[in-house]
């Protein structure tokens, strides 16, 4: 019923073609990518290096003082394996300067601030280096809303947004992302000891099956329960998808005129390209 195996050769060809096509259509040759040491950014940057050549790929490492030393080490491993450009911007001074005024801020606010700080650095380097910001969000986290709006969810083009997390791992193995990166526990690394699966309360293996059936195969929640899935779990997943819909759309515009952006003014994103 659920088969999330990929034809990796085909997907690799589609995604490298996509990066090459979208970057050049926009009039660029380069990309800048925030490389965290995790599997998503490692895969994104590997595909970019293959599509555009390593000389056209800039990895930006943006650690915070609590970032795990392992993350930085893995990010450097990705950079050296692919022979791409890299630079490091420590975000500790700006994040700490801000929260000096709000010392009570919780993990969530601090994590979101870090993600948005990184976003501003990536887009500044987009202008500085003349490269598009390449996204690293996968389909699982986009559907669950497990990301920071205008933070890590922000990019110019995203090659991974239609691949579930478990598929990202398959393709990462296929393109030879270092095994230590593919096999480690996924973590947003926004605070010490954080892991995605502990925070979400389920594993990617479990949730990808449910998302695949709900989204790709158009099962109703009741169909999944009839198939033997745990009702509470399925409803929780469905709720997360629905509750985070706003994160996947542009801000809603109040309709006043005869022709409103995105509503009845509809052009392809590739308009004129």
């Amino acid at each position: 019923m659920v088969d999330l195996r990929l034809d990796c050769d085909t997907v690799r060809k589609i995604l490298t073609g996509f990066i090459d096509n979208e970057v050049r259509k926009a009039g660029f040759e380069r990309v800048v990518v925030g490389v965290s040491g995790g599997v998503d950014s490692a895969l994104s940057v590997s595909l970019a290096a293959e599509a555009l050549g390593p000389q056209n790929v800039w990895a930006i490492l943006m650690p915070y003082r609590t970032s795990s030393p392992e993350s930085v080490e893995h990010a450097k491993l990705v950079v050296s394996t692919l022979s791409i450009h890299s630079l490091t911007v420590d975000i500790t001074p700006m994040v700490d300067a801000y929260f000096a005024g709000f010392p009570d801020a919780d993990h969530m606010r601090r994590g979101n601030k870090m993600a948005r700080e990184r976003m501003t650095i990536l887009f500044d380097h987009s202008a500085r280096l003349g490269g598009l910001v390449l996204g690293t969000s996968n389909k699982t986290e986009l559907l669950l809303g497990y990301g920071t709006l205008y933070g890590d969810m922000a990019s110019a083009i995203n090659p991974l947004g239609d691949l579930y997390k478990t598929q990202v791992r398959q393709l990462a193995r296929h393109v030879k992302v270092p095994t230590v990166i593919v096999e480690k526990q996924p973590s947003a690394d926004l605070w010490a000891g954080q892991t995605d699966e502990a925070e979400l309360g389920f594993t990617y293996e479990e949730v990808d099956k449910v998302l695949y059936l709900l989204v790709d195969q158009r099962y109703e929640v009741t169909d999944l329960v009839a198939e033997g899935f745990d009702e509470k779990f399925v409803r929780a997943v469905y709720h997360k998808v629905r509750a985070s819909q706003y994160k996947r759309r542009l801000p809603v515009i109040a309709k006043v005129s005869a022709r409103t952006i995105d509503r009845d003014f509809r052009y392809p994103r590739d308009w004129g390209r």
């Binding site: 088969d3 195996r5 085909t10 979208e22 509809r266 392809p268 590739d270 308009w271």
Partner: protein, 299 residues
């Protein structure tokens, strides 16, 4: 029908840029001429690109438009099927394909089935065509069915029963559902459909798909020419530009129709009676006749 050389131009048109696409067509036509090709088939909306949305009126042409003059002239040396947005009388915009031959417009087909589901939104922007006709050319009797038209077997049946020896299918099929064996779920279905049509209608089927990306969707290519026994005669590469050239052998059509006289045994009278019955029966159902059972007025 005579023996001739056919080619499919598996190209990647530029979205919304008729001028650049005209130059691409002219280049491909000259290449085909240099390879002694008699008929060159371009994909669906080859002059405009596919996901046009609100650009539809801006890129529309009439078939007589001076912009097509060079292609019409080139058709004296190689016949061509070209996809474009046709602005018809009454300012209706059609997803159309024109058959150019000997410097003239031999036939225009307007896509009859406009997909409006999933990734597609054609009925929002385009008017549906109302005719499926076979037509005579210097090379044989042909019919054009554009992409989704082929997913309605009656459309292919009408083309074949109208005498088409070759069904030409310009297409802009975005690849979706990457599985484990075939490149895409839908490419797999397409290949089954065109081979089955070749077999069932004992005719040649020319599937001309495009490549390239629009708004992140990739068109899968894999253009193919199928013979009148359903065998694949030539197949273009997946996902890459290609010029697929193949010899079309009229003798193969004759032999297939001797071995399998399916068209001879067709029962149009029977089909018509049963269709009339279906229309009669289903026409009485409110959802078919377009009436709301409760007579509720729409706002």
């Amino acid at each position: 029908m005579r023996r001739f050389r056919l080619a499919v131009a598996q190209v990647a048109p530029v979205l919304g840029d008729v001028e650049k696409n005209l130059a691409l067509h002219e280049k491909m036509a000259r290449e085909a001429i240099s390879q002694s090709v008699n008929l060159l088939v371009f994909p669906e909306l080859s002059l405009t690109g596919y996901f046009l949305k609100d650009q539809v009126p801006s890129v529309a042409l009439t078939a007589e438009d001076p912009a097509l003059e060079t292609l019409r002239n080139l058709s004296q040396r190689v016949a061509m099927v070209v996809g474009f947005v046709e602005e018809a009388p009454g300012h209706r915009f059609h997803n159309a394909a024109v058959y150019l031959e000997g410097g003239e417009i031999r036939h225009i087909h307007r896509k009859a089935y406009l997909p409006t589901y999933g990734i597609f939104d054609e009925q929002r922007y385009l008017a549906a065509g109302g005719r499926i006709r076979a037509f005579d050319t210097a090379l044989g009797r042909m019919a054009i069915l554009i992409c989704e038209d082929m997913w309605h077997p009656a459309a292919a049946g009408i083309a074949a029963w109208d005498g088409a020896e070759i069904i030409l299918c310009p297409s802009a099929s975005p690849g979706r559902g990457v599985g484990q064996a075939e490149p895409f779920q839908n490419s797999n279905t397409w290949e089954r459909v065109i081979r089955a049509y070749g077999d069932l209608f004992t005719c040649f089927v020319v599937y001309a798909n495009r490549v390239g990306y629009e708004d992140g969707a990739c068109f899968w290519g894999g253009s193919e020419v199928v013979g009148p026994t359903g065998a694949s005669l030539a197949k273009a590469r997946y996902l890459e530009e290609d010029l697929l050239v193949v010899e079309v052998d009229a003798g193969a059509l004759r032999r297939a129709r001797i071995a399998n006289p399916l068209l001879r045994d067709e029962r149009l009278d029977l089909t018509l009676r049963e269709l009339q019955r279906l229309i009669r029966e289903q026409g009485q159902m409110p959802e078919q006749s377009g009436e709301e059972p409760g007579g509720i007025a729409h706002g």
